[in-house]
């Protein structure tokens, strides 16, 4: 838009091709710009419900409107000389148009306030929209008008909703203000313009939110949308880029980053307006330094030209820009550099083709294209001359001070040196450098530091500064250095980026060596023998000063004598040679380092051999699967299965058949019969385990009831009586029982000894408030007993077919032993219950001993022990006949059970008699009577407690697991719970951890059958359990992610590195813990899991890493464009959960694996 501005302003001063066609085209373009901005603004309004006044969309729209209004304005006729903005126009029409009068008044009012702040505020503001054109006094650039005041009147008119009317007024009275061929005067375009603005004038504009929160808070959705809207051409994920994206050769990527992210792009490829705006202090870049009349000698120009040098701090880093005065002023002639201009014209032909990219690539800029056709292409050349250097690409800053001027040369990491920048004398160079140094903080610095060097000369002595006296003065040696500091001298500063400190350190040492060894050797030999790139690049920039060796100001290698010219050409040639060598070396060095990183960090992550992809287009279809199955139902081609699954997944219909193989539950090559047997065995095992914990569950339930009853009672009591309750409340309460001690003072955390005390006291002292209640409890437990029995019965039907289970017996024996020992050692426990326990156990122990001594003979006795120890009485009854080798049926085998019950009951009863209190008795009896309780007596208290804890957690989480998914009805949730409990019962040491439910759910959905799902889950957990807090895998994953990103997407890595917290990668936590279960929809979870399982055998054992990386890469542009930090990214991905394009992500993940494989193979 400013480009267009420029154009029409230029039309006053330049002979313009008067064909009407370009002007129509120009109008078209102007209108298109307005259309685009209106569209953007409306979109913004739709997505956000309101538009913020400081939004970039508003500014852009105002700019577009301004451009339209400025075009063809009869400035001279209206007396609007030299005012670049249309503000004056507004004031002019205010007489005739009431809307304009209103806006005009507001503008004046608004201008009044800031005018007091800066004297020239009012004057400067109108010029703000078109900085390149208006004349600027030196230094005025430093104080920039805030963005709000740009296009002030249009802005105000827009917010006041008067803009459309004002434009309409202008259009209807166009002949008064505009040239005949102006846009506004055009019958079509004029009305289009005014009607376009009706929409934006109807919007809500708000100032309520601070600009920062306006930009940082958009939800993930909107970010992605915005990205799609704005980026017609999506930056391909870096994955698609050449692999060697190492940091040091980031030019290309950092360029596009700076242009897309910060809007401070080069004039190349972005509009002139953007460029000019980028010279100002704006929202994306802070202006650190600006200086007029800094001379730079662009290529193809023989004399240095004055221009405006500025240092900007953008999000990506520091950027140095230099713009020729001609561009800044808009007028070329008055600077007395016609000579150089003429030369420019001579090189025009080449410049236009090669360097004036603005003409060739920016289609919006018709003006330039048109101009280029003509003989003079002054603007183009100036654009080409303007300089933009990203400081993060600069490695060295060479400073050559001489009597006449101070020159500064920037040397890029690729060894290319930029044209020398000549500062006027008088400390300007120094102030620029100090600004640069400040700007580099905190992540970078100048080496050696600027100020310490100035402060004391010791730095020189240490040789830290690679100061290089001029050759003619070499002989003077170190002692005279201080002298030179003031008058003349060459200094080299290195820009150190802390992020690459290690590399720097290495280079540093190389440099030191190179510099130290041949201090007096003539340059050329040194250069030819130089082996380090850094040295050669340092050498290369010594050339310009050498031109000033004979006392000439080192402004430029301007030849005064032909002889010197020849010498300087020779020098230039050698410089080029060195540069070429240095580039090659740099490339090689970086490549070597890169590969060593790759090898150390990544070789373990992927398999070395690449499995070909051919023939996997359809994945593992049912037809293919059947064809792989032989007549016995065996599948032998496991590699092929894995390969197919890896590349294309499994057809959904056969997933339930294939998954057991993938998880290693079925063996490849097993026949149908074998598998059926395996299943049966698995089911039996499962039922057994389940019956074990079901009994414990019964105990837990009972205790819970007691606890609830007690607390409810306490609560109801609290409402009645006050005093005792207060005491109760004050004291600490134990985890899973209702024991509250009434005689304890309010203690925060009681000592262990007190614990013991309480525990023994408990049954007597605090036992429940009312008998009724206990009766209730008892009734409850009896009911429950029935339930359990019913359960047991149904289980029986399953188990009848079961053969024998030696493990079970062994386990239970071991259990008794352990418990007995535990109880004996502790000698205490849960008061009454435990005394009953020990009674039982003692009794058992004798049986046990005998059974161990004479296992064969005492099979009957052993039955009893089994019965007691086995949690499920019924099960034991049915299982024992087989184990004893007898043919007893189920019903006779119940008889020992009865005996045992009696025994235990009598034990309990006998114990009861010892108890002083009556209240406890029902409790004890209930323990004895219920089979669950009687068996529970054998389980240690800790066991029950720990299972209870797990059980409660499981139930909480099972209820919450995927309840929006229709599969999880109550019945299936029960299955889920059973699987979970069974697993936890088998792994009580690790216990239940949140997230396990999520891992079981898809397996259950797929397999439907509890036992098999449980078996698969157990296998899944073999790998996954390390991800949980008890394992170490998560940290390893984070570290691997780090390395992977560093190597595959260094740009992203830089961003993450800039935010230190990123290193933790916590946003990946859930991904890894649940294998992306929460990130994807069910259907996609299936595919992702298959991929992970199959990848283990095909490409990588750490497929999760690559999927994670693929997710990250999918949104890399959004992340980069918004420079998200640690929290932003967590929020972003949490909001994006279940909305990813899974198939794209998975295939990207495979590509990433391949990429790493190729990288490693290429070593």
């Amino acid at each position: 838009m400013a480009a267009q501005n420029k154009a029409d302003n230029g039309s006053e001063d330049m002979p313009v091709a008067s064909s009407t066609d370009p002007s129509a085209e120009q109008k078209e373009r102007l209108i298109a710009a307005v259309k685009k901005e209106v569209k953007q603004l409306m979109e913004e309004a739709v997505t956000r419900k309101f538009v913020h006044e400081d939004s970039g969309g508003v500014t852009a729209l105002c700019g577009a409107v301004e451009a339209c209004l400025g075009q063809g304005l009869r400035r001279r006729a209206l007396g609007l000389f030299k005012t670049s903005s249309t503000t004056a126009l507004l004031h002019k029409i205010a007489k005739h148009c009431p809307e304009a009068a209103l806006v005009s008044a507001r503008v004046l009012a608004a201008e009044g306030a800031p005018a007091t702040r800066s004297a020239s505020g009012v004057e400067r503001r109108p010029s703000a929209p078109r900085p390149p054109l208006c004349k600027r006094g030196s230094g005025s650039l430093l104080a920039q008008a805030p963005p709000q005041s740009r296009y002030l009147w249009i802005r105000i008119a827009l917010f006041e909703r008067q803009l459309a009317k004002i434009i309409e007024h202008l259009v209807t009275n166009a002949n008064r203000y505009y040239e005949r061929d102006a846009l506004v005067a055009d019958p079509d375009y004029g009305s289009i313009l005014s009607s376009l603005l009706v929409g934006p004038c109807a919007l809500e504009y708000s100032k309520a939110k601070a600009p920062t929160c306006f930009w940082t808070d958009p939800p993930a959705d909107e970010l992605v949308q915005r990205h799609r809207m704005s980026a017609g051409t999506t930056t391909p994920p870096s994955v698609r880029r050449p692999i060697l994206n190492f940091k040091r050769s980031l030019n290309a990527s950092s360029d596009d980053a700076s242009s897309s992210n910060t809007g401070t792009g080069k004039p190349v490829g972005s509009t002139a307006k953007d460029y000019v705006e980028s010279l100002h202090q704006n929202s994306t870049a802070a202006l650190l330094y600006g200086k007029n009349n800094v001379r730079v000698q662009p290529k193809d120009v023989e004399e240095p030209m004055p221009g405006y040098l500025s240092l900007h701090h953008t999000a990506a880093g520091l950027v140095i820009k230099w713009t020729p005065n001609q561009l800044m002023n808009g007028y070329a002639e008055n600077e007395g550099i016609d000579k150089s201009l003429l030369r420019c014209h001579l090189v025009h032909a080449s410049a236009c083709q090669h360097t004036c990219i603005l003409c060739s690539t920016a289609p919006t800029c018709t003006v330039y294209r048109r101009r280029c056709a003509g003989p003079l292409c002054i603007d183009c050349i100036y654009w080409a001359m303007s300089l933009q250097v990203c400081v993060w690409e600069v490695v060295y800053v060479h400073v050559h001070r001489s009597q006449a001027s101070d020159a500064l040369i920037l040397v890029g990491q690729d060894g290319v040196q930029r044209p020398p920048i000549h500062f006027p004398k008088g400390g300007h160079l120094l102030s620029f450098l100090s600004n640069l140094e400040t700007g580099l903080l905190p992540h970078g610095q100048l080496d050696p530091p600027l100020w310490s060097q100035r402060g004391n000369g010791k730095v020189f002595g240490r040789g830290k500064s690679r100061r290089r006296p001029m050759p003619s003065l070499c002989e003077s040696g170190e002692s005279e250095e201080a002298e030179w500091e003031e008058s003349a001298g060459d200094y080299v500063f290195r820009i150190v980026n802390n992020a690459i400190g290690d590399k720097e350190a290495m280079r540093h040492s190389l440099l030191e060596r190179a510099v130290a060894s041949p201090p007096r050797t003539p340059r050329r030999p040194l250069a030819s023998t130089s082996t380090t790139s850094s040295d050669s690049s340092t050498m290369s920039v010594d050339c310009p000063p050498s031109a000033g060796l004979n006392g000439n100001p080192p402004i430029t290698p301007v030849p005064h004598l032909p002889l010197e010219q020849a010498a300087s050409i020779e020098l230039v040639c050698s410089t080029m040679r060195r540069q070429i060598i240095s580039r090659a070396f740099y490339g090689w060095l970086a490549y070597c380092r890169h590969l060593s990183t790759v090898r150390t960090h990544l070789s373990g992550l992927v398999h070395p051999n690449i499995v070909p992809r051919e023939g996997t287009e359809n994945g593992l279809t049912e037809a293919l699967w059947r064809s792989m199955t032989d007549e016995h139902g065996a599948v032998n081609e496991k590699d092929e299965v894995y390969r197919q699954v890896y590349y294309q997944g499994v057809q959904h219909e056969i997933r339930h058949e294939v998954w057991p193989y993938l998880l290693g539950y079925y063996d490849f090559g097993s026949t149908t019969e074998e598998r059926a047997e395996q299943d049966a065995e698995c089911r039996r095992q499962y039922e057994t385990t389940m019956s074990e914990w079901l009994c414990v569950e019964a105990i837990v339930r009972q205790r819970d009831r007691e606890a609830t009853a007690a607390s409810i009672a306490r609560l109801s009591e609290a409402s009645g009586k006050l005093k005792p309750v207060e005491i109760i409340e004050a004291c600490e309460v134990f985890e899973d029982d209702c024991s509250v001690i009434s005689d304890n003072p309010p203690v925060v955390s009681p000592e262990p000894s007190e614990n013991e005390q309480k525990r023994t006291d408990k049954p007597v002292l605090s036992r429940a408030p009312s008998i009724d209640e206990i009766d209730n409890i008892e009734m409850d437990s009896e009911e429950q007993e029935k339930e359990v029995k019913v359960n047991g019965e149904t289980e029986d039907t399953h188990i009848k077919s079961v053969v024998k289970n030696p493990d079970l017996r062994r386990e239970s024996i071991a259990e008794i032993k352990r418990l007995a020992e535990g109880i004996v050692q502790k000698g205490d426990g849960r008061g009454l219950l435990c005394s009953v326990d020990s009674a039982n156990v003692n009794l058992n122990e004798s049986d046990l001993r005998s059974s161990i001594d004479e296992p064969q003979q005492n099979s009957q006795q052993q039955h009893t022990s089994v019965i007691i120890t086995n949690p499920s009485v019924d099960l034991a009854a049915s299982g024992s006949p087989a184990s004893g080798g007898t043919t007893a049926t189920v019903s006779p085998s119940r008889s020992p059970l009865g005996v045992v019950r009696e025994e235990s009951q009598s034990a309990g009863a006998s114990f009861d008699t010892l108890e002083p209190t009556n209240e406890v008795r029902p409790d004890a009896r209930s323990n004895c009577v219920s089979p669950a309780s009687s068996n529970g007596g054998v389980y240690s208290n800790e066991l029950v407690e720990s299972f209870a804890l797990n059980l409660h957690r499981i139930e909480k989480d099972v209820q919450r697991c995927d309840r929006n998914y229709p599969f999880f009805t109550d019945e299936n949730l029960d299955k889920l719970r059973n699987i979970m409990c069974t697993y936890v019962w088998e792994h009580l040491d690790t216990g239940y951890m949140q997230g396990m439910c999520d891992l079981v759910a898809p397996l259950l959905v797929m397999m439907r059958e509890e036992a098999i799902a449980h078996a698969l889950f157990a296998r899944l957990m073999d790998r996954a359990k390390d991800n949980f807090p008890s394992g170490q895998a998560m940290d390893a994953h984070f570290a691997d992610m780090r390395s992977l990103i560093q190597i595959l997407d260094c740009e992203l890595y830089e961003l993450m590195h800039a935010h230190g917290d990123y290193t933790h990668f916590y946003f990946c936590y859930r991904w890894f813990l649940l294998d992306f279960k929460r990130e994807l929809l069910y259907q996609d979870v299936f595919s992702a899991w298959e991929l992970i399982w199959a990848a283990r055998y095909v490409a990588s054992e750490h497929m999760v890493l690559f999927i994670a990386l693929a997710l990250l890469e999918t949104y890399r542009d959004v992340i980069l464009a918004n420079t998200m930090d640690f929290t932003d990214i967590i929020k972003f991905f949490n909001e994006m959960a279940e909305r990813h394009d899974a198939s794209a992500v998975l295939s990207l993940a495979r590509d990433l694996v391949l990429q790493v494989q190729t990288l490693i193979e290429n070593k």
Partner: protein, 208 residues
């Protein structure tokens, strides 16, 4: 200027699993209740802008996993917190009992500058349920014993007291924040103190 500066308050919600942390957060931020929440894995946060004493502040509310085993993960999130919300379920006494350990754990992990005066707020959630097992009095007493922590009985489901509670949270967090700002505004003062301390220590050393 400082009053117009945007303030970000970091609030951490802690408590046993299933007490309703996620629900409370969503009720406050999005004004809606869902019974579809899953167990939180890892951590999530929502932001909301509230007006406290004519200042617009952004609350960044962090919701964490409830199982204490995942606390090691929380450390990264605790840092820089301005307020900590401890939630328990009034129908589950155990969740009330573990408040103590949540509080201690937080103070250890987050290591705020002034642990004694770090703002906590206790929420007894699920008061809409009938089977209440922790009396308000009991909770209140506990809160009083802990340096008078504000206590609210909330129901995320029926939006009882949620707004009020979070207003208090914001206010207390802001007080904490302003205090921190005050500290930062006078770095010299701190420096001087530091010097004094070191001098004192030197003196001690000499005496030894």
């Amino acid at each position: 200027m400082s009053s117009r500066k945007k303030v970000l308050l970091k609030v951490i919600i802690l408590g046993d699993s299933g007490v309703g942390k996620t629900s409370l957060m969503n009720q406050f931020v999005n004004k809606k209740f869902s019974n579809q929440y899953k167990a939180t894995i890892g951590a999530d946060f929502l932001t909301k802008e509230v007006i406290v004493d004519d200042r617009i502040v952004t609350m960044q509310i962090w919701d964490t996993a409830g199982q204490e085993r995942f606390q090691s993960l929380g450390v990264a999130f605790y840092r820089g917190a301005d307020c900590c919300v401890l939630v328990f379920d009034v129908t589950a006494p155990n969740t009330f009992k573990s408040l103590e350990s949540w509080r201690d754990e937080f103070l250890i992990q987050a290591s705020p500058r002034d642990p004694d005066n770090f703002p906590f707020v206790i929420l007894g959630n699920k008061v809409d349920l009938d089977n209440r097992a922790v009396s308000a009095k009991r909770a209140q007493q506990w809160c009083q014993s802990k340096n008078d922590i504000p206590y609210f009985e909330t129901s995320a489901k029926e939006a009882v007291n949620v707004e009020l509670a979070f207003q208090t949270i914001a206010r207390n967090a802001l007080a904490q924040e302003t205090e921190a700002e005050l500290y930062n505004e006078f770095p010299d003062q701190i420096k001087l103190n530091a010097n004094d301390n070191s001098r004192n220590r030197d003196g001690d050393n000499c005496a030894c």
